[in-house]
Point group: C2
Chain length 714, copies 2
């Protein structure tokens, strides 16, 4: 998945969504009552509330263990440690990039699956980083003090410098430590998250794509479902499996209807705390424009895949990400277009503002914040197209151009003091940046040319052929010709060429005749200019004033709230529970037999051979997928679902379509996370994949009785 | 152009649009003051107002002559008669379907242009119909009397039957007469339009696509412009050029800055009179959904064209239409998203409703209408997806399937009484239906399969794979396999096969083993059911209540208004005039020299060889394109621009991007129609195309001095 943070809890645009009424506790800013709402931080988890509703109160020790057993894929997913020897479980769609990069036309692990029968066969993923959250420190006061009384550029610069300083002091040159200052409550709080960083990650087992994503795009965000969306990885240190003392054990029975479940993972982003001005901008500008571009790209990529089998193979991963985003964003867009829902959001903001206005002191501190944010949004409206197509890659969507730009900017940025660099060149971010930059993952020229042609055409369309930047990029060339010339002419597919330029710094860049490098050099000043304008006139204003809005909420509604998701570790609670759709009750757990009943033999409803061959060996009543009321969102993909004994009962891989508005609010009556049941994993590892080594590691002693039938995937 | 009614006056989605403020006279329901607003019917033209502003008052004789010199391409464009021998001028993009259908891989008239040096070389267009409006009769009273007191299905059935009766009585079995009851003012008035129908239309002259659509999609809806978007056709009767006594002569100098101009043509549709509930539905549902589908189709078709030169040739026409629609609809969508504009629309409706409420008699008659329409819109929301993908072709987008369905339905409908048939099978519509059905235009299997695969996939996505209709269509096949099987298996590419089934009626259909026919038979009951639900629960309610809203407007604001566009003949007035954009003045007339200055040699900015070769022979100061304040919209493409002496000074082919909100309101300060200047046509026919025969016919006696240089296009 290229866009896993966009995945999961947003569904397709179906009109049935329009019919339902949102009942969202947080809409009025108050703490959620008894709904299973919230993606809670580990230092503010409502244990008492869980006890009140479910009779179990997580202790601090329980929370610490669960936190340390949870993992993050830095690329945008969640995962968990499932053995003391660094075994990691995540979704197939989260590890898809790695599986794809390790595949070739002859060894297609996406199509055929992968299983390392011995440890020596575990194969390193080209650019994967896994993080484990080891410590949280509240640094709100430090940062507030540093920025006190500042506004605009001064505020933004100071905040950035201070954040960098904290992060650098925390990691202190230790490449294995990753430290991020996490902005919570839109700036109401700042926490320093210290992670242990694993950069040697190897592929252990992956099923075939056909069963991992059974039902494909048509079934994406739907339930009932029948997917085995799981993959096992292993983190290594110094060439050996890492020792992971905190990990989740396997439950005997897996998730049961009605059972209390926790989900510990990294929801990517929610926008529940945004102001009305910001939501309107999303609804009227960002979402419709993005959806159109993604839709067009989807059409292009689908047809690109018809050029031939190899073209299909190399483009499927990207298409998969695009299709997933289309569904997710459609869901978000429709949520915002729901008049009743939006009116509730408006009412909540008016209530808050009225309360602020009624208190002279608060009025003085906070009352102007909403209008300031609205003004910044209006500014953003003016520069959005430039920002999208110049700085944010919308015009030059190409892996090789991104590599070139990173090299060009790196040469410029690294000589500067840490706090003065563009944020992505901060010392703390260097290991991740280098892993990405020097990834040996293949770059396919034919697909690069297609993507670049597409984005250049889009840029010319949106900015207009007379725009100075467009003229600078295209000159007298057509998008197609320029794309072909750049991709065919560059040497940057070769990692060694990248390393040489990286080491060579400014002089090497200046001397380079590589057409991608030369283009990146030529365009960088224009790109930087629009970024600067954005950061100074928009981002800093929104940041500063969002802090104020957040503080007014604390003062008025108290601190017993959860912050919007920020791709940092959160814990949600809920129960395995069905729901009602179009007047019909949807049962919460599907069975393996249903998988076969839904197979048509045609993609995306075609089962892999290994499944067809072993159908009779399987127990059809084995639970396959299930839903629970846990509040999650894209980025939670791969999160462990655990019971109160902190045992694995499933793994999250999606949300139902009714969860599509989760970006903006939670509705417990129908919002459901969708998970693979732990029993389906065991049953298929045993009877389909014959993965004895893996099973023994997950459930020591369990494989003493040999499996009925064994036929490995590869 | 496949979508010419969507063309012209809607521009691309640029944020600059968001900045401007609409000032629209009709917003408050009052007659427009002194703005050049309005697409006026010929029986309610504001001659006195034109005199007041421009000093010229069109007489009834003047109006009659202009009306009879105007023409309509039944497929969705406008045109004019420009000689006594049936010569017709329209846009290249309006005749593009014909030019494309006459082309083959070896004789590509789209790429190379077409010119019939002698009359015998004029070639018949496969399926083109031209109409000339000969008479208008007000039938409001007759229809009102017939439907008095009726509602729902009864109202709709009676209205339909009565309309058919009037139309049939009018054409009275004369295949050369076409009679349409035109609904004006959303049902406030009904007029019977009687046309002379020409079905033998031949291609006379077309320039190369590269100059007709110079600048392509990036420049579409932009100004300044440099296009020669013109094509000449001829109508024939009994195998000979038709005699057309009413026609436009050619002006000596063509359009001059500041000059009064009239545009007589067929604007396709505006939505200025819609209620807020209807506009919201457009803004929040129809436009975003349609834009996403069209965008995806655009991506697919662009990439389809990369399969090879022939694939590109056969798909370009469709892509061209899709791209045009995308820009047009984006423009409309952004107009409705403009908060200021929408607030004005809301205020206007509230003003009207308040006035209705204040008068007890009006209140009784009209007050409920708005809520009734809103309720019908809510109904539509529920069935829209079914309607789109089942009845309206969204799920089976294929020329061959449409042929099959017409045959299947025809066999069912034709035995019924005229008034009881589905509207498109009315006797009055039969000539057009047959021309379409038996068109010898080639159908390309590869493109058919691609389109059908696309639409079947879309249908499965939007309706869901468990929808009964989806299951019925797909069974266990994938969209791709089904599409290939149907297209490869059907005999309907052969016009004779169509004729046999058409003549064979119900028995022939029942006996047919053709897979397209069999599918159409199987699906027809489901399709009819959703159409019936729509007509009875939505369309009839909206129709009935829109009549009431329109009548309330007449009672309150008087009858000196123009109705929304309905693809019936209208006359607009204005002047050749520049405008201001981003603080810069845009000059109203471009020159031929600018065409060469904008050429890059790369599509879509590559000039054809004939132009490059003859550049020096051309007078660079010849006016090329120009803008005027006339209020037009898609469907007006190909309309003559005439001066007060009813002489051709240009031909409309587009609108500027600021006209994009024209669907919903008119802003004279920036809304401009874009036309080819008459002098550019003469200069290029003379010096590039050596079209002596054509020039002599347009301006008798003008070619006695031979052109400087002649090199025909083909």
């Amino acid at each position: 998945m290229s866009f896993p943070q966009n995945r999961d809890t947003h569904g397709p645009g179906k009109d049935r969504f329009m019919k339902r009424l949102f009942v969202i506790a947080t809409l009025l800013g108050a703490a959620p009552a008894m709904a299973d709402e919230g993606m809670w931080t580990y230092n503010n988890f409502p244990s008492a509330k869980v006890k009140e509703k479910y009779g179990f109160e997580p202790s601090q020790q329980w929370l610490d263990n669960v936190r340390l057993s949870s993992a993050r894929l830095a690329g945008g997913c969640s995962a968990s440690f499932v053995s003391a020897n660094g075994l990691v479980m995540t979704n197939h769609h989260c590890a898809r990039g790695c599986i794809d990069q390790l595949s070739t036309a002859k060894k297609d692990y996406i199509a055929n699956g992968f299983y390392a029968k011995a440890q020596g066969e575990e194969t390193q993923c080209p650019a994967m980083e896994i993080n484990q959250l080891v410590k949280i420190t509240d640094v709100t006061e430090t940062l507030n003090k540093a920025t006190q009384g500042l506004t605009g550029k001064k505020y933004a610069d100071t905040l950035k410098a201070k954040m960098s300083e904290l992060e650098q002091a925390c990691s202190a040159g230790n490449a294995k430590a990753r430290c991020d200052v996490v902005t919570l409550y839109q700036g109401g709080q700042y926490n320093l998250y210290e992670y242990k960083r694993f950069q040697d990650v190897r592929l252990v087992m992956a099923p075939e794509h056909a069963i991992a994503f059974f039902g494909g795009d048509p079934d994406n965000f739907e339930f009932p479902r029948y997917d085995l969306d799981v993959t096992f990885l292993r983190v290594y240190e110094d060439g050996k499996p890492a020792t992971t003392n905190n990990f989740f054990k396997w439950s005997d029975k897996g998730a049961q209807e009605g059972e209390l479940t926790f989900i510990s993972g990294h929801p990517g982003r929610t926008s529940r705390g945004l102001t009305i001005a910001e939501l309107e901008f999303q609804r009227d500008v960002v979402l419709p424009k993005t959806l159109m571009t993604l839709s067009e790209m989807r059409g292009m990529l689908t047809e690109f895949g018809r050029r031939g089998a190899e073209q299909r193979r190399i483009s499927t991963n990207l298409l998969f990400g695009v299709e997933n985003s289309v569904k997710a964003l459609k869901g978000r867009h429709e949520a915002l277009l729901d008049k009743t829902f939006f009116a509730q959001k408006v009412a909540a903001e008016q209530d808050l503002r009225k309360k602020v206005e009624a208190n002279p002191e608060m009025k003085k501190k906070y009352a102007a914040a909403w209008d300031e944010i609205a003004k910044a949004q209006a500014q953003l409206r003016n520069i959005r197209q430039d920002l999208t197509f110049m700085e944010n890659g919308g015009g030059l969507s190409s892996t090789l151009f991104q590599v070139a730009r990173t090299l060009v900017r790196g040469a410029e940025e690294f000589p500067k003091a840490n706090g003065e660099r563009l944020r992505e060149f901060n010392q703390a971010n260097v290991p991740a940046l280098e892993a990405q930059l020097f990834s040996p993952a293949p770059v396919y020229p034919e697909l690069e040319i297609a993507r670049l042609t597409f984005s250049l055409t889009k840029m010319r369309e949106e900015l207009g052929s007379d725009h100075p930047f467009v003229k600078k990029v295209l000159g007298k060339e057509s998008p197609e010709k320029l794309a072909a010339r750049l991709v065919k002419g560059t040497k940057l597919r070769d990692v060694k060429a990248r390393q040489a330029l990286y080491k060579g710094g400014k002089a090497a860049i200046a001397a380079s005749k590589d057409p991608m490098i030369q283009l990146a050099v030529a365009l960088d000043p224009d790109m930087r200019a629009v970024r600067k304008s954005y950061e100074e006139n928009v981002e800093s204003v929104i940041r500063k004033n969002s802090e104020l809005v957040a503080k007014s909420k604390f003062e008025i509604y108290g601190t017993n709230q959860y912050p919007d998701a920020t791709f940092s570790l959160r814990l949600s609670y809920g129960a395995v529970k069905g729901y009602s759709e179009n007047g019909k009750q949807v049962s919460p757990i599907t069975q393996m037999a249903g998988t076969f009943e839904h197979a048509t033999g045609e993609e995306p409803f075609a089962l892999p051979k290994s499944w067809l061959k072993n159908e009779k060996a399987l127990d059809g009543t084995t639970p396959m997928n299930f839903v629970s009321t846990n509040d999650i969102i894209g980025g939670n993909s791969g999160s462990p679902v655990i019971n109160k004994d902190a045992e694995i009962v499933g793994i999250v891989f999606d949300g139902n379509i009714q969860s599509l508005g989760g970006e903006y609010g939670f509705d417990e009556s129908v919002n459901r996370s969708v998970s693979v049941h732990s029993q389906a994993i065991i049953e298929s590892l045993t009877k389909i994949y014959g993965a004895t080594r893996l099973l023994e590691e997950l459930r020591p002693g369990s494989t003493k009785v040999p499996p009925v039938k064994a036929s490995p995937a590869k």
